[in-house]
Symmetry: none
Subunit: 213 residues, 4 copies
């Protein structure tokens, strides 16, 4: 994510375009954003975009990969780095997602749903690679959540398979995004987070919004 650190100027330009497009596609969908608009927003000539991406779909694929990398890194890996108990990790993950939604709502007055699923739904039919990529990302997510589930099963002596619990947690996370977007309410993320904790036997733990500056 540290563009300035990228070796060549070209790679920096490319990364800048991807980040710009990621933001736009997230807010307005793939078809709602023209290549012209991406170029304008990135302050780059349209032809420059085509120097780095074969076509608009190729850009979308790069965006999905970018979104996936950012998500895994900043949400999951970092929660695992900071915390070690399953309840802390899970709470951290949902706290992060919730915080992002709060910020989103404040800054742009709206809530946009999961940027990976959004693109995958819109383009999945025409671009199988995009769906493959999204699937791959959520396999990773499920892996993280399954680890949490396994630790919870061990700690709390649940008699459910960690794998199934991991899958359920993943689906709940999907549902959290969808319902937050439809209702326009970040609190739906908290609902899903608390339900997830309850599911793993941490009924006492509640996700509480951190103070944000």
């Amino acid at each position: 994510m540290d563009f300035a650190a990228l070796p060549t100027k070209g790679e920096r330009t490319r990364a800048h375009i991807v980040a710009t497009a990621a933001n736009l596609f997230w807010r307005r969908s793939f078809h709602g954003v023209s290549v012209d608009l991406v170029a304008d927003a990135a302050q780059v000539n349209k032809a420059t975009i085509y120097r780095y991406f074969a076509d608009k779909g190729d850009l979308a694929l790069a965006v999905v990969r970018f979104n996936g990398a950012v998500t895994i890194e900043t949400v999951f890996a970092s929660s695992f780095d900071i915390y070690s108990s399953p309840q802390d990790r899970l709470a951290a993950i949902f706290r992060f997602v919730y915080g992002a939604h709060e910020t989103m709502l404040e800054e742009s007055g709206d809530i946009y749903g999961c940027p990976i699923v959004g693109l995958a739904l819109e383009l999945g039919q025409d671009m199988p690679e995009i769906r493959k990529e999204a699937q791959h990302i959520f396999d990773q997510v499920e892996n993280y959540l399954t680890i949490i589930a396994r630790d919870a099963v061990d700690n709390n002596g649940l008699n459910q398979s960690p794998e199934m619990l991991g899958r359920t947690l993943t689906q709940l996370l999907h549902g959290a995004f969808a319902s937050a977007r439809l209702a326009g309410a970040p609190s739906r993320i908290l609902d899903a987070g608390n339900a997830s904790l309850a599911l793993l036997g941490f009924a006492d733990t509640q996700i509480i919004q951190q103070e944000r500056v």
Copy 2:
């Protein structure tokens, strides 16, 4: 849904256009389907579409309403009509959704996700009415699921609020669609269904695919 029963020819034409568009938008997204294509598929002149709908967005709104009505009627109301116990009702709902996914996969080789959420995600930004409508539909869904949760809480003596459980069930259902679509696997619906049953304390009950003709 029984078009032939509609009084005037105009109403039948209109309903036919909506049903055709619903199918196309579902499979290929809103922007992936041109008005020309809808006209061709419905075997209707393009100008006829504009006789019944102010613009393409208006058609999309009608499609969302249509999808909502069909879903509530054929999935939720009908499950409630046939069954009375919470576990039977829940199982029936998921069995229906699962069956629809199996059929979808067989007939078109792919799985398309929730048609209501799909349109809401794609158009939510530009057409608030559509998101409102989708929200309204899922409020009804949540109502149905909350009733089931309440009965389960009563039956099984759970110490969770039916409202929160209803919400969680709704989110799990959202997640079921998303994950089935990404993975291309109808079994994800069964996973969510069984998790839902477990959540309500019906760990013994399993949703099993009915014989289909």
Copy 3:
């Protein structure tokens, strides 16, 4: 060519587009003319062009067919209708081509070569249909010229095969267009015409420019 006689309005529009494009492609080559320009020249919206032609190449194909039909009809068939002796027919053909070149030069200050060969050379590689069509047209031309050759062989007792003579006449006609275009001189058409007559044993006959109004 009588557009007003075409049954439907659509067919007239289509024919008008083809005729306009034929003229432009002839003067400025296929790639030298944009679809926008064709639309402007035909006083038709660009989208209207795409209502009648799948793409620009499809329009070029229609143009080649049009050019072929016009050529066969106005040059060859009509010369055969009016005259019956081989030398009269051949002279009429070349007189017509020569006259067209003179007019061209007067009206636009330049000479454009054969519109069929021009398009075939430029597009033959990417559009085999176009070359096929051009080949078909010149097969017809060769047929006409072979008939003339056969009659000449009979009349003048030449000991060459009419088929080979027909082919040579066809090649000379090709060369006449090329050399007239390169030199910017209509007289090259007369040269080829007189050489053709000589070839068939009509050394006395000379093609003379008719008085033109």
Copy 4:
């Protein structure tokens, strides 16, 4: 044509670009080849091309000159060097052209027409210099063929002017290229060659394909 012999590296680079472009323009026409493609094919940076040529048209002009020089040298001058009788010279010229067509067909599965006329037809309108250059080249060709015609007239006592015969031979050569390209048949070159010999009174001589390795 011996690039390695060129004094400076720059001249070699330039010559290499011209030769590469000549080949591409020949096969795919001027507008069908982008500067990018020329750069790729020549394994040279695009900016390097603009170091040696003012613009793409300038490159085309260089290509026409190159084609002309190669043609005159390898086909006409060399035939005149090797042979002295008119029929041998003419036969050698057509044999060469025919052989080139056979090779072309074998190596690339297609036949491309005269590269000089092709460019002149496509660009003649926008670039008068190119047409001038092409005209100049074919004046030289006509000179060579007129010399052959003159010798034939002397030898065979024909009562036609060598100049007119030279012109006819030139036009037949043009027609040979055009008809070979349209029909995709190298044999059309032989047809024109034999017709040319017959025209000069060498009815007995036939051009026969040489054994090629």
